[in-house]
Symmetry: D2
Subunit: 299 residues, 4 copies
């Protein structure tokens, strides 16, 4: 078994480390938040006192961080690990960050003969705990093949999306559809209800018609239609609105970088931005149906 | 077998009449366009020389018209058929019109003790020809039960949506999701491609992820991904952009009538309106991907 | 002096009646709200016990009502005044209603040989009190010329906009620009501030540049830039957000009726709808800057 | 008289150099496009064979380039002029670029004890030729005071916007209002016309009402209303749509960088992007009224 390093021990990183430990891996961990480190020691993780110390002691490094800036600091910053990693070392960045930064990092890795892939996930905290995440992986195929068996300890679907950054690209394009369709379904249910149509009846119709989509079939935002989804549990996440907004902003950054026109992507970004600004950052992203409903219907 | 009247013999009405004839019904037909009438005579349909003449000679009336105004004229206009219909006569309006007009007509029908339902369809010309339409039916349940066996001659799914106008409501709410998700999928494919992601690869990923929707899985607008869809056939319809725009405008009328906020419904209406205004009324509605792509990618 | 009738004694109607009385007119009044009637009696107005009683006793009728439906009831409803008005009587509808209804009413008036104009106002309650309203008048020019001297008792600018309904058309097109530009200016001030630009400095620059507009120069939504505007008085109206939303909805109705594409008009309607739905109906419409700012800046 | 260097000799740079020469300055010029250099030699400009050669021979440097990337290359790239400039040298960047890049460059300049300001312009090619540009200047006030007399050779209004990057911030916030209001005015004129209102009549009304804005009063997009504006000259620019799109994209980059919500800014960016993508990059930005009108009205 390879010795693994794991950097970034937040809501996602924590259960991912536990899963790696449970599969028998040795895992050395690091986070600027000491509390997050301490929580994992009872499970068998070993703390490193610095990024570089960690880097020198492992064969493979996972990162699960919040922002592109953090990822850059960790890898290529002044005290970053690229400075100390041995050649051919494998780095797996599971963070969701912008495509441009992801590609630049892999270029630098390349120049240093370090193997690297971007491997952002979908499935949220629940998927991280259950080990059922989906990984969308970008990078050289040989690097993907090295990463795959390790990622299988953490997820069910490990998909190769092509060259460096393509994992990020796949994720934000998918999540852009998701964010838009969640709002679309919300609008449709509110309009249907105001027109006097029973929500369950509308669900039955649209679910078998051309309006069918994952946001409707698997994650219906109208309370009382599906069990075991956030809308039937006071919109407790699930996938927080702030995280959806982060992904939508990444899509808009990518659209600006590539001169792409995304009229609904832009509109969905506006709407989640208004929703988060009203104080709903931690509500499930399907809670946007409350903003669409306004005070005219109690949701 | 009941004697049926059919008013409105356009692209949809024509194959619907043929299906009714083929099932052994006697069908008396009327249209202001004499040519449309003549085309159906060889198949056994019998022409009436006026709306009222038709109305006096049949037990059940189908209408398949373009606009709410036409439907009002035919039923409750000065020379409309409500003036001559016998009590308990059944009227089945298959036109897609605004909810308010549909409800008003059924109120008038009620006062005259005429049975009426709204029964708009999805499935397009292809579905009309194949007899595989979906009907979303609104009106009193007893009227729905009378209409159902007749509609089974024309379609595969006959769904009861509740009170008068609910068939229209269900259709426009469903199609609002459809119009929005088609644009969302188009934006995602163009952005993915500009980011260097292979379209088939992106399809495989999103189709098994939270971005899955009918517009992607069954009707992918990116050429070359699915066979036998309009995008792989020069965007020949299918479901014309002008028809999608009509349904979106109906959704916006309904939203104004009910004080509902539909930010993406409004945006989709804007986009199909710009698309149709550029001269693409008769292109399949998935052709909007060409407008999203602009001249930066040849689609 | 002509004997005048005035129907609709709300926030606007009340001060308008007072101004007519002060100019020496005899004014007979009616409102379904008895309290609104009673408030004007001390000022010399005479109550009528019914619409029709009022109509029989005056030469000219003013209406200042909330909705197109109310206006229709008052004029052409079952107990409406068109049933009793003498020929050549002049009706001045100052309500803001949809263009189609306004035109239909004037058609009916025409058939009954009653003179009628639409004369919606801008200037708000403050303008009504001060007698400084602007009237945008539609109808036959001869009718406009009869109405003009009477309207001069109530306003400073009495503009002839052309045929029936054109007063309404002019008002909603103007107010659509107003609603859009108020949001545009709000976005620009928030963005400028977040970029570190002093609001007064930005005002000075934009006010002399191509970003100049009435919303900025005369009604700046950024608090502390201009004195004596709602933004410097806790966004107390002024012109309430709910009234702006009403006008924007009228613009969208007109756009649907005429197949016009109004991408920013639709977006502004969405935004004021979200704003009003959050409970800000009675805040000045410039308060939308608070929604744009969100919790990131305290406005 | 100071010896001036000028880098970037395009549509704007060319007339700016001529104005500097005419005021008696010695101007050394550089552009990667030799043709652009040659055109200015007959007017007295002296060519440099490299950026660094130019930098060593002048006291003050002007740059007027297209993109942030070009500006970075010229100043801080491998062969950039920061490498050779003497301390206290003054750099005036007149390019319109993103705020973040502009600020980073001035930080680097600061570290090298080079004086630098951002000084983007408004007024277009016509203003550059006439010497009537407006400059919005950001940077330390002492640097602004050094730049001001030189800029007065090129423009009429030289405005100090505050710290580094504030010139860029002021310009993009102003132009965001401009782009939005141009579309708003276009929508209003098309809607007014479809409602039967005469364009000149609507102009007279809105120009004296709350819809007044620079886009309407000074640059009306409806042909035939104002003389001497692009709409009355086949939409020949003026200010090209592609340039407006560039500024709107900069506003959206700034909005993403600062977590600002700009619903209409985003929508205007979408619309100009669709317009440019249809092949109208070089049309005046007021030509967007043609897209709003579609084929329903010939503009």
């Amino acid at each position: 078994m390879a010795r693994l390093g794991f950097i970034g021990l937040g809501h996602m990183g924590n259960p991912m480390v536990k899963n790696l430990l449970q599969k028998g891996h040795e895992v050395i961990i690091f986070d600027v938040n000491q509390k997050a480190v301490d929580q994992l020691i009872p499970f068998g993780a070993k703390p490193a006192h610095s990024l570089q110390a960690l880097a020198k002691n492992v064969d493979v490094i996972f990162t699960m961080l919040q922002t592109g800036e953090q990822v850059k600091q960790v890898y290529s910053g002044e005290k970053g690990i690229f400075n100390v990693l041995a050649k051919n070392h494998l780095c797996i960045d599971c963070s969701s960050i912008d495509v441009v930064s992801s590609r630049k990092l892999q270029e630098i890795a390349n120049l240093n003969e370090i193997a690297m892939v971007d491997a952002p996930v979908s499935g949220g905290v629940a998927g991280a705990k259950a080990g059922t995440l989906t990984f969308m992986v970008g990078g050289e195929e040989s690097n993907f093949l090295r990463a795959k068996p390790l990622l299988e300890a953490l997820g069910q679907r490990i998909i190769y999306a092509g060259a460096a950054g393509n994992g990020q690209a796949a994720k934000i394009c998918n999540n852009m559809i998701l964010g838009i369709s969640m709002i679309a379904v919300s609008e449709a249910f509110i309009l249907a209800k105001k027109l006097g149509l029973d929500p369950k009846k509308f669900f039955d119709i649209a679910n078998h018609a051309s309006g069918q989509c994952w946001s409707l079939s698997q994650y219906c935002p109208m309370p009382g239609v599906l069990e075991h989804v956030p809308s039937s549990n006071q919109f407790s996440p699930g996938f927080a609105a702030a995280m959806m907004l982060k992904d939508l902003r990444l899509s808009q950054e990518a659209a600006l970088d590539t001169n792409t026109t995304t009229p609904l992507g832009a509109q969905a970004t506006t709407l989640y931005s208004l929703f988060v600004n009203e104080g709903h950052a931690n509500m499930d992203f399907s809670g946007i149906i409350k903003m669409i409903a306004g005070d005219s219907i109690s949701i």
